[in-house]
Symmetry: C2
């Protein structure tokens, strides 16, 4: 288990690991249930798992009384997340994800597109079968945002003139909305909505810092991978303020070495620390919101640990 | 408007064209509402429309009392259908759909994958916002089947040993299930479920006949296009019974001329008439089911016309 997850599990009483185990089991069932169509490699990749941050947020916001409904919602949101990863890998032609071949790489892009659609549909089927009207609504809204965010990213690709505001709007759609949804699926509360949104945004900012900072042996990908795909991130926007020449970079023409050099140039402006600082501020704001939501003390403490974990990655 | 649609509209009283107009308007709103992200060409392609068979089935099964709920369900099911077409075009690298550039061709595959996800999500959001629990359940179930059918098709591609049963199972998942869903969305009745499934299966059989029979100026694609993609269809399976040498064909190595020659060889066995005959039988069975469902006479008559229209294409 990755560090943020471990810290939360260590601090929690027994219901949380038990529920996370149930989510894991459910995910495995869904994936293995389509094994003949997905193929062995794809099943292995999908079942290999990730940090399960979104399911953890659902379960923690729901708390111990959340019961089977919270396990279902946690499974559904992770299925949506997995679907977007499978589709992202089709688009990015990435060979590896979490150190394993992507579904696109192992089964081909056509099957990966369909596999993503399948995971997506299964998420809605899971909630709909249980009659969870509000949950379906929240998940559908978040899925719309995800696709809009993905489209915005493609639309703005390689455009070095995009503003910080546009970057932040895109991250809210592409990343923060699903964190927000996770919290609301657990407990429909306005403070939790903002908590999720802030933590999600911080998560994306940190992800963008890691793309520039590496190290590759921790992130699992070469430095500057996103930049070479044309994704304009806050570290780049921030760095260009101090060093306007960065705006002249031809991202589409970068080879691996040139991408590393651009990363170094971005880092030299101090942009990474500034973006990291903003992410930390967002997390602090998010944690203050927890004080205004009505919770068992354990829930508040554990949600705080998840928020901390998001910014402690590789730092 | 294509012929089957025209026949139904001509025979119907005013509520049906009015409702279909509302569906069209809703679809346009959804697509145009994301115009800045989807791009002008994609919006034009998506708004250009098709036969709208599935929305028509929803509206007809619901009947005049179906009201706004039936318009919503009809819009949602067409959004799902559009999403699968957009994704299919990514996979098949088809340049044209309904005589217009596909979204994949006009906006690139990455944006097309995201555009499909967006349409998909909007369908669920539309029903979830209106609190249509049973409709969400039906649509999610059909979407799962669609993706399974797509995966089955990829899994079986180029395998000339697949059985008729496996072909029929795949068509049920990939095509018939959404027709069935359309009928159930309109009116939750077991006879309508089977009516939809039979009509959908007949539709797919005829589609597979048209791939072999053409003519290209009516179907909009070269004869044997699906065969060259490795899709094993009933005309091929049926033809190989009379002419076993067909099973030796190397589909992956066919150029356009060789594909036409294979189509001629399939046609020479009389397979096309036999498959057409089976589709007609399915439609006759479907129409008999209508007699067992409780309906206004106009609904029964119009649903019969839709069923007839499905097999009258280009014949």
């Amino acid at each position: 288990m990755p560090p943020p997850v471990t810290a939360v599990l260590d601090a929690s009483s027994r219901w949380l690991p038990a529920r996370l185990g149930e989510v894991e089991e459910r995910l495995r069932e869904v994936v293995a249930g389509h094994g003949d169509l997905l193929g062995e490699d794809a099943v292995a990749t999908l079942a290999a798992g990730g940090k399960r941050l979104r399911p953890m947020l659902v379960l923690l916001c729901a708390g111990e009384p959340g019961g089977a409904a919270s396990v279902r919602a946690a499974t559904a949101i992770e299925l949506i997340h997995m679907a977007t990863l499978v589709h992202d890998d089709v688009l990015d032609e990435a060979p590896l994800r979490r150190g394993r071949p992507t579904v696109a790489a192992s089964s081909g892009r056509p099957r990966a597109v369909a596999a993503g659609d399948l995971l997506f549909s299964r998420a809605f089927a899971l909630l709909a079968d249980a009659g969870e009207r509000r949950s379906v609504e929240l998940l559908a809204e978040a899925s719309v945002a995800l696709a809009q965010g993905e489209l915005a990213q493609r639309h703005d690709a390689f455009d070095l003139t995009i503003s910080e505001q546009r970057y932040l709007d895109r991250c809210r759609l592409k990343t923060a909305k699903l964190f927000e949804c996770a919290c609301l699926l657990g407990h429909d509360d306005e403070q939790l909505r903002y908590f999720g949104a802030d933590v999600g945004l911080a998560f994306q900012l940190l992800d963008d810092v890691l793309d520039v900072a590496g190290p590759p042996e921790r992130t699992g990908k070469a430095r500057g991978t996103d930049l070479r795909d044309g994704t304009i991130t806050l570290p780049l926007i921030e760095a260009a303020r101090a060093d306007p020449g960065i705006r002249e970079a031809d991202l589409s023409g970068l080879d691996a070495a040139a991408a590393e050099a651009l990363c170094d140039r971005i880092a030299a402006t101090g942009a990474l620390d500034r973006v990291r600082g903003r992410a930390l501020e967002m997390v602090a704001t998010a944690k203050r919101r927890l004080e205004q939501a009505s919770f068992a003390p354990e829930q508040r403490q554990l949600l705080g640990l998840v928020a901390d974990g998001v910014v402690q990655r590789y730092s």
